[in-house]
Structures are given as structure tokens and as C-alpha cells.
């Protein structure tokens, strides 16, 4: 990690990282109470790609993400109490309880609704970006996706379309190495995703070491390319690590399908710890106290929010 980064940036990144991690730790802590009756795909360990990229976005920029979307939702500025209420299935949830953890949305901050079907959102992001381009709008679309999605046919189709029409869109691949319990080497003859991307005629880059500042610099370069009026799509792969099980609140190292030793370098660079160590103790304390209070209020809000009325079952089937 470079040593010359200004403290305001460190504080901003730390606040965002710490907030996401603590929200999810609270989700994990509460999960056994069964108050959250919905599958949760926690981002713990892989908060940094969302935080690094979103730190550089304009408020009007639009993000599309996946069912492992808590980190992106929060990093983009999504409403925290509405997210927690959504997990609780309450009427004040961001989708009035009808979506749950896998379908978070906050249109106020241009966080598009996320889907539970791997890779399905990728063409939506491309179509959205194409439409903005056609309308001459300046904001850009960032499409977050996982390594598993790169094996779906629609991924390939979407990249081809984006390259063909020179659609200004940034794809951010959060490569945590696993699709549920299957390692990427068991799923692709060519595990090097960037290598595969080059065939589409889309420029790409990879960040391998888990360093959030390097992620941010790579994202800056990528966004500059995408914002260039003559630019087109760009693909950024970021290696990262999911610390919890695929779905649910528990650790799963005991299952034996992966080992901590495999990701020692990433774990050593855990940005939450790295940034915490760099902050002045007072400012760190200040950030953490404020975040803890905010989280407590958000969960309280969710607890107190009512469930939807029965007639809501039939609402919003059609616009």
C-alpha cells in the first residue's frame, strides 16, 4: 500500500468499508434469530472493489450489480435503513419487502435493482448505457459482475454488443474465484478472464493484490476511458475474497473446498485492517462511533417498520 495518500481519502474509504462490513456483521449476527427470512449473500471480504470504484463516481452515474449486492448498494449511497428494512421484509424496505436481499434498489442514487439470476443484468447495463449515449447524456454506467457470470452466454453476447456499438460502459469483475463451491479452474479452460476479454476488442486491466488504492487508480484509468467521448467499453477485473459462505452468515473454511492459504496475499491486504492502521486513533474512533450509531438506528428502524398489508400482494404486477 502506498504511503502518500491523503488522510481525507483514507477516512472516506475507511468509513465506507467499515460501514459495509459492520452492517453485514450485524446481518450475520442477527441471522440466527430468523428475523431476516431471505437468503443473504454477504460481501464481507470483498467490499473494496465497490468502495474503490464508487468513490470515483458522480452521483448521476448508474450502477448495476448482483445478488451479492449489499456492498455496492451502500458504497453507491443507497439508503441504509431502507436496505435493512428490506432484509426484514418490511414495508419501509427499498422494495417494500417484495425483493429482499437479492433485489436491492435505490433509484435516488442510481443504484439499479439487482437480480438473482447470474449475469442476467449485464445486457441491461449495456442497454442502459447505450440509451444514455443515444440521448447524449453525460453520466456513465458501471456494471459489477462476478467471475461466475463470465461463463454465461449472455456475458459474451453483451460484451460483443458493447464493443460493436462502442457503448461507454465500465464492467467491473469482482473475481472471488468461486461460483458457490466451484473454483474458476474447474469451470474454465482459460481462467485468465482478462485474456478472454481481449478477444472482444475491449481494453481491460486487472488488480491482483487486494490493495484498495491500486483498485482505485485502475478504476480512475478505466473511468477516464469510458468517459472519453471517443471511448467505449472497458473491463476491469479485481481479485477479491469472499470470507463467508456463498449464501448465509457462516464461515465455511471447514468444508475444505478452499483454504485460507490460497488467498494469503489478499487476506494480508484486507483494506479494512490496512486503512484502520493508517488512521489517527481519534478520527478512526470518530468514524466507527458514528457508523455504529447509524447502524443501530437502521436496525431499529427495520424492527419498528410494519410488514406490508395483505393487499400489497397484488400491487405492482403491472405498471
Amino acid at each position: 500500500m502506498e504511503q502518500t495518500t491523503d488522510s481525507a481519502l483514507c477516512e472516506r474509504l475507511y468509513r465506507s468499508l467499515y460501514r459495509i462490513r459492520r452492517v453485514e456483521e450485524e446481518v450475520a449476527r442477527l441471522y440466527p434469530t430468523d428475523k431476516i427470512k431471505s437468503p443473504v449473500h454477504l460481501s464481507i471480504g470483498q467490499e473494496a472493489p465497490s468502495v474503490a470504484v464508487c468513490d470515483l463516481l458522480e452521483p448521476e452515474d448508474v450502477v448495476f450489480g448482483t445478488y451479492r449486492g449489499h456492498a455496492l448498494y451502500l458504497a453507491k449511497g443507497g439508503d441504509l435503513p431502507a436496505m435493512v428494512a428490506e432484509l426484514y421484509g418490511k414495508v419501509d424496505g427499498c422494495a417494500r419487502g417484495k425483493g429482499g436481499s437479492m433485489h436491492l434498489i435505490d433509484m435516488q442514487v442510481h443504484m439499479m435493482g439487482t437480480t438473482a439470476i447470474v449475469a442476467t443484468h449485464i445486457p441491461h447495463a449495456v442497454g442502459y448505457a447505450w440509451a444514455l449515449q443515444r440521448q447524449g447524456k453525460p453520466q456513465r454506467v458501471i456494471c459489477f459482475l462476478g467471475d461466475g457470470s463470465t461463463e454465461e452466454g449472455v456475458f459474451s453476447e453483451s460484451l460483443n454488443f458493447a464493443a460493436l456499438k462502442r457503448v461507454p460502459i465500465l464492467f467491473v469483475c469482482e473475481n472471488n474465484g468461486y461460483a458457490i463451491h466451484s473454483h474458476i479452474s474447474a469451470r474454465s479452460a482459460q481462467s485468465d478472464i482478462v485474456q478472454r476479454i481481449s478477444g472482444y476488442g475491449i481494453p481491460s486491466a486487472r488488480v491482483e493484490d487486494g490493495d484498495i488504492f491500486r483498485m482505485r487508480e485502475a478504476a480512475r484509468t478505466a473511468l477516464a476511458a469510458v468517459r472519453d467521448p471517443q471511448g467505449g467499453p472497458y473491463f476491469l477485473e479485481i481479485l477479491t475474497c469472499r470470507l463467508k459462505e456463498h449464501v448465509g452468515p457462516k464461515d465455511d473454511w471447514h468444508m475444505g473446498y478452499r483454504s485460507r492459504a490460497d488467498i494469503q496475499a489478499l487476506l494480508a491486504n484486507d483494506p479494512v485492517d490496512q486503512l484502520a492502521a493508517r488512521l489517527q486513533p481519534e478520527s478512526r474512533q470518530q468514524i466507527e462511533t458514528a457508523v455504529e450509531q447509524e447502524i443501530e438506528r437502521a436496525f431499529q428502524y427495520a424492527e419498528e417498520s410494519p410488514f406490508p398489508e395483505q393487499e400489497e400482494l397484488f400491487q405492482d404486477v403491472f405498471a
Partner: protein
């Protein structure tokens, strides 16, 4: 819904679709068309001719052979405020779009509590005839009728070809329009002005007291021929109903007719199992719960894949005489049989390939 409110002007079914899209594109700059071959010299059976030249290549354009992503891309564009019309030269290829249409287009409004509606028009052409075979002739409207959140039109008249297209473009939800290729050259009255065919409103095309014929898509033509044959040759008065809108479905009009006739024959240009015919008969049965005797029967594709060779293909599809025969059996009953002469279907016989 008068067919003649625009005077005597006639257009083909394909011409009516083209006019609807052109007028809507003129009216609303957010409307655009994408699909394979929409800007080529054939112009998607003539339905997209001139659109690229008139409105530009960013409002009517060809796509890669990527039905899944192109459907998704259209959904994304719809989320960004545009109104896409995505075309499929064969409905068979819609199977490649099912994830996008069923998991996203149909659910986006609901699962995000109204925040992400998807105004999307999907045109699926049924490619029947002249040896199209098992993978170029299928009609999947019932797959979409099954799923809440998506509307389904199946126009049979040029008038409704235009009205359904206009209504679909203006609707804020995903709408599938099943267009039967055998209808494309059929002429009929089409007003020049813009108008909408309403969702959930069936059209009674012919009145009769003896039996209700509900026919879907191209089968409306065959059922109308059967109704004439029944009247002229055996004195049976059939009422012919075109549902036009399959989801939502106007069961009130159908039930009103069955209340009068006591007999319902539903004919589809698809298979009967778990299909539109099954749904219509089930809803009629639920209406009376046995309190009123109602005879029901369904006709559709033979329960096989569609054969390519002509001698087998002709028996695969219901036609006027097979409809007449079935209706006669229901009305006259007691084992009486009638084998009416095969009625000419010009739109089928006139068609020559290669595509």
C-alpha cells in the same frame, strides 16, 4: 372498436404493423426497433420497410445473433426511458429470450415495488407453412400467458394488427405480440389515424346461437370459414370470437356467448395441452361449476412436433373443415357424423418459400 371508423381504406396486416410503428415513431422519439434484419431490403416481412431511412440507424437497426443479450439490452434501454420494439422472425427463437422475459421483464415492476417498470414490445412471428418444420413454426403465446407481469396480444385482423401495436408501444409493461405469418398479406380495413386496440377486450366477429367458436391468431380465419360452411351446408349458427388479447383475457365476452350457446369449441394455432385453449375452457368451467351444462372441445396442433413434408403437415394443423366437423358433432350429437369438404385457405395455399 368499429372496424370501419376510418372509412374504406384497406391495408395488409403487415402494412398495418408498419404504419403503426412508423406513426408511433413519428409521435414519440423514444420508440425504436431492433432485431435481425429490420433494416434490410426485405424489412421484416415488409413491416419495418423505410423505418431506418426515415428515422435513422439508431432507431431501427440490425442486431447480432444474440437473442438473450438483445432482449436484455432492450430491457436496459427501456429502464433508461426508451420504448424498444424487439422483433423475432420466428417465435421459436423466443426460447432464447425466456430468462430475460420471464425473470426480468415480467417481474421487474413487482420485485422493485413499481420502481423499475419495463415498457417493452416483443414481436414474435409464427412461421407456419411451406415446410417450415418443427423449429420454424411454433407458437408460444401460452408460455407467456402463464406468467404474471407480461401482456399478450394475438391479432388476426389488419385493424387489430395496427391497434395492438399502438397499444403495446404505449403500454408501460412488457407486451408480446404474436403475429402469424399467414396473416401478413391479408387485406382489411385500417384507419389512417392512430388508435389503440384495448387490452382484455375480445371481438365478436360473427353472431350465432348454436355454438361458440373461440379462435386464436390465424385460426380466426379458419374458424370464420368454418362458420360460413356450417351455416351454408348444415344450418348451424356459430358465433365466432377473436380474443385478440390473450393476457389479460376477456372471459366475460366468451362466457356471455357460451351462456347463450351452451357449446364452446376453442381453436388455437398451437398445441392444446396446458395451452390457451385449456385456459379458456377451464375458466368457462369455473364460471358455472356444473350448474349449467356446457359442452366443450378443443382443437390445435396434432400432439407431435410439426412435420416438414406437406402430406403430413396438412393434417398437423386444424382447418375450416376440421373445425366444422367438430362443431357439427357437438351441435347435432347422438353419433351423427359429417365430413365436410376441405375449404380452400388462400393465404396458406398461395405461400411459396423459401422463407
Amino acid at each position: 372498436m368499429s372496424l370501419h371508423d376510418g372509412g374504406e381504406r384497406t391495408l395488409t396486416f403487415a402494412g398495418a404493423i408498419q404504419e403503426a410503428m412508423a406513426q408511433e415513431m413519428e409521435r414519440d422519439p423514444t420508440v425504436f426497433v431492433l432485431g435481425q434484419g429490420v433494416d434490410d431490403p426485405i424489412g421484416f416481412y415488409g413491416t419495418t420497410l423505410g423505418l431506418a431511412e426515415r428515422f435513422g440507424s439508431d432507431r431501427c437497426f440490425d442486431t447480432p445473433l444474440s437473442e438473450d443479450a438483445v432482449t436484455g439490452m432492450a430491457i436496459g434501454a427501456a429502464l433508461a426511458g426508451l420504448r424498444p420494439i424487439n422483433t423475432h422472425q420466428r417465435m421459436d427463437f423466443l426460447l432464447l429470450c425466456m430468462n430475460q422475459l420471464v425473470n426480468i421483464a415480467a417481474k421487474s415492476c413487482y420485485m422493485f415495488a413499481g420502481a423499475m417498470p419495463v415498457p417493452l414490445v416483443v414481436r414474435g412471428v409464427v412461421g407456419r407453412s411451406w415446410g417450415q418444420g418443427p423449429q420454424h413454426s411454433q407458437a408460444f403465446h401460452s408460455y407467456f400467458m402463464h406468467v404474471p407481469g407480461i401482456k399478450v396480444f394475438a391479432p388476426s385482423l389488419p385493424y387489430d394488427a395496427k391497434g395492438c401495436m399502438v397499444a403495446a408501444i404505449r403500454d408501460n409493461n412488457p407486451v408480446l405480440i404474436m403475429e402469424h405469418r399467414m396473416l401478413f398479406n391479408v387485406q382489411g380495413p385500417v384507419p389512417e389515424h392512430l388508435y389503440e386496440t384495448p387490452f382484455g377486450q375480445a371481438r365478436v366477429l360473427r353472431s350465432g346461437d348454436d355454438i361458440t367458436l373461440v379462435a386464436i391468431g390465424h385460426m380466426v380465419m379458419e374458424a370464420s370459414r368454418a362458420a360460413r360452411q356450417l351455416a351454408e351446408e348444415v344450418g348451424i349458427a356459430a358465433e365466432v370470437i377473436d380474443p385478440v388479447s390473450l393476457a389479460p383475457l376477456d372471459m366475460a365476452t366468451i362466457c356471455r356467448s357460451v351462456q347463450k350457446t351452451g357449446r364452446l369449441l376453442v381453436v388455437d394455432n398451437s398445441w392444446t395441452n396446458c395451452g390457451a385453449t385449456a385456459e379458456i375452457v377451464a375458466q368457462v368451467s369455473e364460471q358455472w361449476q356444473g350448474s349449467r351444462p356446457v359442452q366443450v372441445k378443443r382443437l390445435g396442433f396434432a400432439p407431435t412436433p410439426c412435420p416438414t413434408t406437406r402430406p403430413l403437415e396438412v393434417d398437423f394443423y386444424p382447418h375450416a373443415a376440421s373445425i366444422s366437423k367438430a362443431a357439427f358433432g357437438m351441435v347435432r350429437g347422438d353419433g351423427q357424423e359429417w365430413n365436410p369438404e376441405r375449404v380452400s385457405a388462400k393465404e396458406v395455399e398461395a405461400f411459396k418459400g423459401p422463407f
